[in-house]
Amino acid sequence: MWTYFLRRILQMIPVLLIITFMIYALMLAIPGDPALALVGPGESLDAEQLQMVREAHHLDEPVLVQYGIWLSKAIQGDLGRSTQNYRPVTEELGTRARVTLQFGLVAWLLAILIGVPAGVISAVYRGTSVDYVATILSIAGVAVPNFWLGIMAILLFGVTLGWVPTQGYVDIFVDPVEGLRHMLLPAFALGVTSWALIMRQSRSAMLEVLAQDYVRTANAKGLRKRRVIAIHALRNALLPVVTVFGLQTGRIFAGSVVIETLFGIPGMGQFMVQAIFARDFMSVQGAVLVMALAVLTANLITDLVYAWLDPRIRYDD
């Protein structure tokens, strides 16, 4: 198992290198003088001063050399400074990641808390109206633009009913009640695709499991229906949910870009969009690195949990 684990970690390195290099090259490709972008809009430097900026930031070196310099600093934990407010990028990312993490987790929890029971129930009561409604909702959930659902939720719960705030963010650890109230709508909108996919997956997995011999045996033994489902079926029905986890972590990050903009949440997604518009190189690079690491780690965890849940899967491949 350890060799498998180690190899997976090693495989992450080329992927990370490719992503960060692609983004680095992409940021340089944005039209306009990068030195001007570094200085910011408020200053007007003469040609000589601009040249000094260029030299200081190695902007006249080839892309590969510049990237190499960034990489060697990044390995030592130095991601440079944001050109928007001159805070160190690592510090800025720390605050931002905390926000997105809280709000991504709430979205995840909502998705699992709704998706798994809905899937299991609709499989157990297959063909009934409950199954029908849940299936329709899960189909709709995959097709609906999550930010539009957010807008509609703002319209209904914020504007019309006035139940929850529709803008901003409160740290859950500072004020749990207000934090959750602020997070409810965005987390719901962000998690809708995940919820729908989890429901779909757990329904079909559950149906498959319920048709197995050991479930029939358990039923024949006279075990109560609830016990059969809880003890014998659920564990196997959870497998596909785990698969969805890896895929959905990326989706949640991507979704956070739009949802954070919509709800005015100061997280990674909003940070990234602002940084791209401001051509804030170091911030974009840092954010990309953190997001990529998070998604790769989620994929790794997915595979490990998968193997733990299903003993038929071996690590030695």
Partner: protein, 285 residues
């Protein structure tokens, strides 16, 4: 069975599934409306009617009007054009780049395959919406940029589908026989490996069309997509959001259009998968 006959046969089977039939009809309707937009629209999408700002559903404006008195129905119809052009263009680009990469990888294996697949992994890990935001910011928000951005994000999925399909074919005896018989690599790829990938690529493409519509809308909403006054469903939603309290209809209509079109693509994609090859269920997301 000739090729065109096989196509009709697949369509007939798809049309037998009720929700897929709805999907086919809805897509066809959208395509027709988009093609004949100039003849269908009640007024030009850019014509301003200052007597009816932010109006509700009425006889002059069937789906209401926006803050400049522009007709929502007309803008919606022109927006359908953009939605279709973007999804067809982006998926076409994804197929054009992704399929050859997948074929080359699966056929030659080894280092070539490793390099291609690691690059694809990198693209997959990075959420496609963010790739699109980056590209759109780098190149400026235009129709071409949006197509390129969403297209590139689709490349790895196409490559992966082709690859997973080709892995088994590569090991078949007839491929070894063709190789021993002196057939060139290119011919083997085109004659034996490519035809087996057509079905999954069609399925993946249809499902990705819906996703492309969603991505275009999201880009438009955060303001990096195609810029107003050209109406797109995404930028209509962006412009409508500040006016949510004054006229909610403006936010409801484009979203519903996006939802229905994506739903239609998903229905058709699912049905195609079931009809063409039920084994694909696990392969395609």
């Amino acid at each position: 069975m000739t090729k065109s006959y096989a196509g009709i046969d697949v369509l007939r089977k798809v049309m037998r599934i009720p929700h897929a039939a709805f999907g086919v009809v809805f897509i066809l309707l959208t395509v027709l409306v988009a093609i004949f937009a100039p003849w269908i629209v009640p007024v030009s999408p850019e014509e301003m009617d200052f007597d009816n700002l932010l109006s509700n559903i009425s006889s002059t404006h069937l789906l209401g009007s926006d803050q400049l008195g522009r007709d929502t129905l007309a803008r919606l119809i022109y927006g359908a054009r953009i939605a279709l052009i973007v999804s067809i263009g982006a998926i076409g680009l994804g197929v054009l780049i992704g399929v050859p990469l997948g074929l080359i990888g699966v056929y030659f294996r080894g280092a070539v395959d490793d390099i291609i697949m690691r690059a694809m992994d990198a693209l997959v890990v990075f959420p496609s919406l963010l790739i699109a935001v980056g590209l759109a910011a780098a190149l400026g928000g235009s129709l071409t940029t949006v197509i390129v951005a969403i297209g590139i994000a689709n490349v790895p999925w196409m490559a992966r589908v082709v690859r997973s399909q080709g892995l088994a074919i590569r090991e078949q005896d007839y491929v070894a026989a063709a190789l021993a018989g002196g057939m060139s690599h290119a011919r083997i790829i085109f004659k034996h490996i490519l035809p087996n990938s057509v079905a999954p690529v069609i399925v993946q493409s249809t499902l990705s069309m819906g996703y492309a519509v969603l991505t275009e809308a999201a880009l438009g909403f955060i303001g990096v997509g195609i810029q107003p006054p050209t109406p797109t469903w995404g930028n209509m939603l962006q412009q409508a959001f500040p006016m949510l309290e004054q006229q909610a209809l403006l936010s409801v209509v484009p979203g519903l259009a996006i939802f229905l079109l994506v739903l239609a693509f998903n229905f058709v994609g699912d049905a195609l998968r079931d009809v063409l090859d039920p084994r694909l269920k696990g392969v395609i997301h």
